[in-house]
Structure formats: structure tokens, C-alpha cells
């Protein structure tokens, strides 16, 4: 190795780290049409343009989040390929509070309780009220839709809708969340269209 190479090697490493950091914190454009969400293993067709939140801000496992006006106001989140026994987030056994693990045999109330534990444990929602649990056709199979309201530390009242299906013992999830005032309702129809178009990748 020449002296020049020796000198530039640490500099190159720093530049690569800076590039990676800048990539991981930048929102990406999501065009209209068919989109493959590889991480979550879901394909959807969207009628609108979206911004994709950087993966460095993800809370859940295999999470991809789209937003129109910023995730604090509205968000569509895709989670997928969660295996039996895994939680939808990465966590340590010693953690005092745990998001309940997914089981392929979960009943609709148990799936709703698992989502509530995700909000309470990971998103620190002090208020989480399930407003309805209903059947839904999602990813070509019978799934569960849970509707809820919640309040996090910013005290904004938000609505949420979570569609879940178990395909070949793996959990797939799509969530719409938004401020109860205005933003959630704005995307309800689009979310229904996304759900209707969703396929397993």
C-alpha cells in the first residue's frame, strides 16, 4: 500500500459512512402505480404519490412507512413476513415491557391485543382504545381489521386502522394512522384501495 493509499483510506471510510447516513435519513419518492414493498413482502397499487420515510426511523421489524404530510399527521405502514414466535419489533428478553410475539394461531382479539402492546410499549401510547374489530379480505384471504384511537406523548388524538392477515403462518400488516382531526379521513378511501390491491410479493 502506497503512502497516498494509506492517507486516503480513513478518509474514504468517513465519506462512505457520511453517504450511508445521508441515504438513511432522506425521504424517498413513491410514484403512482404498482409498487413492490420488498422489505414487507407486499405489492400494492397506489393512485397517489407518496413519500417513503427513511428506514433509519423504523420502529418495527420489516417496516416500510409512506406518508403524505409527514408521519406525525398521517402514515401508511407496511409490516410483513413476521414468523410465528417473532414480535413485530426487535427486542431483548430482558426488556421490562415486551411487544407480544406473533403466533400463527392468534384469534382476532389476540391480534388486536398484540397491536395494542406495540403501541403501548414501543410508541408509548398512554391511551389506546379499540373502536371496532371486523373481518376483512386482505392478501387474498380472510383477515382482521382493527380500528382504534390513541394518544402518545404529544397528546394529539389519532385514529388508526390495521389490516392483518396470516399467510403460510406469516403475519402481514398494513396500518393507516393519522390525526383524528382531518388527516385520517383524508386517506381512508386511498387506504381501502391499497388494501384491495395488496398481494403477497
Amino acid at each position: 500500500m502506497t503512502n497516498n493509499q494509506r492517507m486516503f483510506r480513513p478518509l474514504a471510510s468517513v465519506l462512505i459512512v457520511i453517504m450511508l447516513c445521508s441515504c438513511a435519513t432522506r425521504y424517498a419518492f413513491v410514484p403512482e402505480g404498482k409498487n413492490k414493498i420488498r422489505k414487507a413482502g407486499i405489492i400494492v397499487t397506489t393512485n397517489q404519490k407518496w413519500s417513503m420515510r427513511p428506514s433509519s426511523l423504523s420502529v418495527a421489524r420489516n417496516e416500510v412507512t409512506w406518508t403524505k404530510n409527514g408521519p406525525r399527521l398521517d402514515a401508511v405502514t407496511f409490516l410483513g413476513r413476521i414468523n410465528d414466535g417473532e414480535a413485530i419489533v426487535k427486542q431483548r428478553e430482558s426488556d421490562e415491557r415486551q411487544v407480544a410475539p406473533f403466533r400463527a394461531t392468534m384469534t382476532p382479539p389476540e391480534l388486536a391485543a398484540m397491536i395494542e402492546s406495540y403501541y403501548r410499549v414501543k410508541l408509548e401510547a398512554a391511551v389506546f382504545d379499540v373502536t371496532s374489530v371486523s373481518p376483512i379480505e386482505f392478501l387474498g384471504t380472510g383477515g382482521v381489521q382493527v380500528d382504534y384511537t390513541y394518544v402518545r406523548e404529544d397528546e394529539v388524538l389519532r385514529r388508526g386502522r390495521c389490516a392483518m392477515s396470516v399467510v403460510e403462518n406469516r403475519l402481514f400488516v398494513m396500518m393507516l394512522t393519522g390525526a383524528k382531526l382531518h388527516y385520517f379521513e383524508l386517506l381512508e378511501a386511498e387506504f381501502a384501495a391499497l388494501i384491495a390491491s395488496a398481494e403477497v410479493l
Binding site: T107, P108, V133, V151
Partner: protein
């Protein structure tokens, strides 16, 4: 050699705390309120503090985190009135939705009680102990005294900030996290009290509750329950139990020391004029009858199974109810370890044997039996749930399940 000023301050502060811990025990029987009835702030410092507290109170009164239940509010206000007599008019009580064990008092007399605290109490006397303690801070004028002390000890403030930085909620700045920091042993809060003040509020609280006719031993029971719960939580996670308040940086005395102190204060009292001191177990059970299930649910959904199991079994010492069996089933169901499906099914089966079971008991019983393959039993339970709750928000899901039973 250089001297690290922060470390030096920390050491001096630690020595002060050690001294406080070894101080002579207080005599609650000689304590009197230092704040006169109808008190209003007199100097500029205190007026500013009250104004800030009033602004926070306005936020809380309009917050989505406020637990709005007129019956519960009336009951809690009545207990506060019994503990404080005519001084109750100077304090106002708000219930905040939060599954953690917590209560706090602000300088203007606003008391916050978190739903997680209510879920953990076994009787009215335990509530009186908590309210007496918080009122003790107010009536012994700790809020403004502490603020003045801090103002004049710039060096100590740097230690406080250092301690606060370790807390999980230390960097938040709204009232909700302020309330958390007060009693969580974090030092970032403006209104957190010294160990001496906590000990004094404990002693004064025991005095107030005893004068109101409550059994003073209930105060130590609150802490004994909390210690056992934290130990159960740690054991379930195979981690050693740590008392957060035992840290040298904590504003609160170590929890076990606090429990011993409370028990000692309780022994200083004999029944006033020979009347029987009450625990108020029945009145507490009546007030919490419809609330216990949702309040326990908040705790259970945090999935700290060790703590939740202790909590439910501790409450069941006063008698099992449908809500407690249902809660037990929910803990096992969410934990989902080997054998938990059977334990949950048994708990739900027990929950529906009561004449007036909690709302979701038949639904949970039905789904639990469905998982065990008892289809007929499951369908009967789900139909019963629909009959009892025809307008349930999950009725369509139940009907779908009945029409499409899972293939075994």
C-alpha cells in the same frame, strides 16, 4: 492534578444523602400544616411558580390523557375531603390515563393520580395514604422551599441534571413527563423533592389518614406491594431486581427504607378516641367495580407478565372476581408461552361463572375454546356474547367466526 468539579459536587451531594438516610426518624404526631387555609402565593418567586402550575393545570383539564369519569371523580374527591377536611378545598385532583404507578402534586395544589396507581390499590385506606402523602408536600410547603433551595445551589443543580439524564423520560418537556419525573426518582424536574421532604410527606400523610379514620398500616402496604411487583417482574425476566430509588441520585428514599419508615409511623398512632380504623375495602371495591377491568387492561397490554400476574393475584387476596379471572386470562393469552393457551382458557372459563361477568368474558371464553378445538363450547360462548352485547363493535367479527370456524 485537576479537580473535576461535577464529580466533587456529586460526591458531596451523595454524602449529604447518606446523612439524610441515617437521620433520626420523624414523629408524625407533632406535625402541623405550614400553609394556612385558602393560601395564596405572597412573593414574586412563588407567584411565578403558581402561574406556571396554573397553566399546566389548564392543559391537563383539556388533555386527551385526562381520564374522564364523573363517578370516579366524585368518589376520589370524597376520599380527599375525608383525608383533608376543610383543607380539601385548596387542592384539586385529576386522574391521568397512564398505566404506571404514579401520583404527584404541583405547587398550586393540583394533584395528579395516574390510572396505573388506581389499578394497584386494594382498598380506600391505601388511596388515602397516597393522597395524604401528596397533600403532605403541599401542606408542609415543600414545593416553594425546594425551588428556593435549588435556586441557591447552582452546583447541586448540575448534579440534578446529571441524574436526570439517565431517566427514560428525562428529555421530554411537557407536563406528562414532568409528572413522571416527579415520582419516578428522576432529578430533572423542577418540583422533585429531596429525600428529607419525601420522608416528611410520608410521615405527614400517615398522620392525615389516621386522623381521617383509616388504618395507617395501609401506607406501608402500598410500598410493600410495589416492591413485590417489581421483584416478580425481574424474576420473570431472569434479571436482578433493582430499586431505582436506591440510587444515590434519587430524590426519593430507597423503597424498602421508605416502607419501613411508614410502618414505623403507623405504629406511633393508636386509634383516635378508640374508634375502629377502617381499610374501606368494600367502598373501594364498589368504586372500582366497572373500572378495574379497563385499568388492568392498560397494565396487561404492556406485557410485563411477571408484574401483571403479581398484580392480579395480589388484588385477588380480597376475593376473585370476573374482572380478575378475565385479566389473568389476558396475561396468559398475551404472553403465549407453552401451556399459556390452556391457562388462559381456564381463567376465561372461570370469568364467565360469575352472575354478571365482564363484557368481554364470553367472547374470550369462546375464542379460547376454539383454539383448544372445543368447537361446540366455543360457538355457544360466542353466541352468548352476541346475545348479551348485540351492539358490540366486534359483532361482525364474531358472526364471521361463527360462520367460518377454523379447520382443525
Amino acid at each position: 492534578m485537576t479537580i473535576d468539579v461535577t464529580r466533587l459536587c456529586a460526591l458531596l451531594f451523595a454524602l449529604c444523602l447518606t446523612g439524610a438516610a441515617c437521620a433520626e426518624p420523624l414523629d408524625p404526631t407533632t406535625m402541623v400544616p405550614l400553609v394556612p387555609a385558602g393560601y395564596q402565593p405572597v412573593d414574586v418567586d412563588e407567584q411565578g411558580l403558581w402561574q406556571s402550575s396554573n397553566e399546566i393545570e389548564q392543559q391537563i383539564a383539556n388533555s386527551h390523557l385526562l381520564f374522564r369519569n364523573p363517578d370516579l371523580q366524585a368518589y376520589l374527591d370524597s376520599v380527599l375531603a375525608r383525608v383533608l377536611g376543610d383543607r380539601a378545598a385548596d387542592l384539586r385532583l385529576y386522574v391521568v390515563r397512564d398505566p404506571d404507578f404514579n401520583a404527584s402534586v404541583f405547587p398550586n395544589g393540583m394533584i395528579l393520580v395516574h390510572t396505573g396507581l388506581l389499578a394497584r390499590l386494594r382498598n380506600e385506606a391505601q388511596l388515602a395514604a397516597v393522597l395524604g402523602h401528596e397533600a403532605g408536600h403541599y401542606l408542609r410547603m415543600h414545593t416553594i422551599d425546594q425551588w428556593r433551595v435549588r435556586k441557591s445551589r447552582a452546583a447541586a443543580m448540575s448534579v440534578f441534571t446529571l441524574g436526570g439524564a439517565f431517566g427514560p423520560r428525562a428529555n421530554r418537556n411537557n407536563w406528562y413527563f414532568l409528572a413522571h419525573s416527579i415520582n419516578a426518582g428522576l432529578l430533572a424536574s423542577l418540583f422533585s423533592y429531596s429525600r428529607e421532604m419525601e420522608a416528611e410527606a410520608d410521615a405527614y400523610g400517615v398522620l392525615l389518614m389516621t386522623e381521617a379514620g383509616y388504618a395507617p398500616g395501609a401506607a406501608a402496604e402500598v410500598w410493600s406491594q410495589l416492591i413485590s411487583e417489581r421483584k416478580a417482574s425481574a424474576e420473570a425476566r431472569n434479571t436482578p431486581y433493582k430499586d431505582r430509588a436506591a440510587s444515590l441520585w434519587s430524590s426519593h428514599p430507597p423503597t424498602e427504607q421508605r416502607m419501613d419508615g411508614l410502618a414505623q409511623y403507623a405504629r406511633s398512632f393508636s386509634s383516635p378516641s378508640g374508634q375502629a380504623l377502617s381499610h374501606g375495602t368494600n367502598s373501594w371495591a364498589a368504586a372500582m367495580a366497572d373500572l378495574l377491568e379497563p385499568l388492568l387492561s392498560e397494565q396487561i397490554k404492556q406485557n410485563d407478565a411477571g408484574a401483571s400476574l403479581f398484580l392480579v393475584k395480589n388484588l385477588a387476596q380480597d376475593g376473585w372476581t370476573s374482572a380478575l379471572h378475565f385479566a389473568l386470562g389476558n396475561i396468559y393469552s398475551l404472553r403465549a408461552d407453552n401451556g399459556d393457551a390452556e391457562l388462559a382458557a381456564q381463567a376465561y372459563a372461570d370469568a364467565v361463572t360469575f352472575p354478571d361477568p365482564v363484557r368481554g368474558a364470553f367472547r374470550a371464553h369462546g375464542y379460547a375454546q376454539l383454539k383448544l378445538g372445543n368447537t361446540q363450547l366455543a360457538q355457544d360462548a360466542l353466541r352468548t356474547y352476541l346475545q348479551r352485547n348485540p351492539e358490540a363493535t366486534d359483532a361482525s367479527m364474531i358472526r364471521y367466526t361463527l360462520d367460518n370456524p377454523p379447520q382443525q
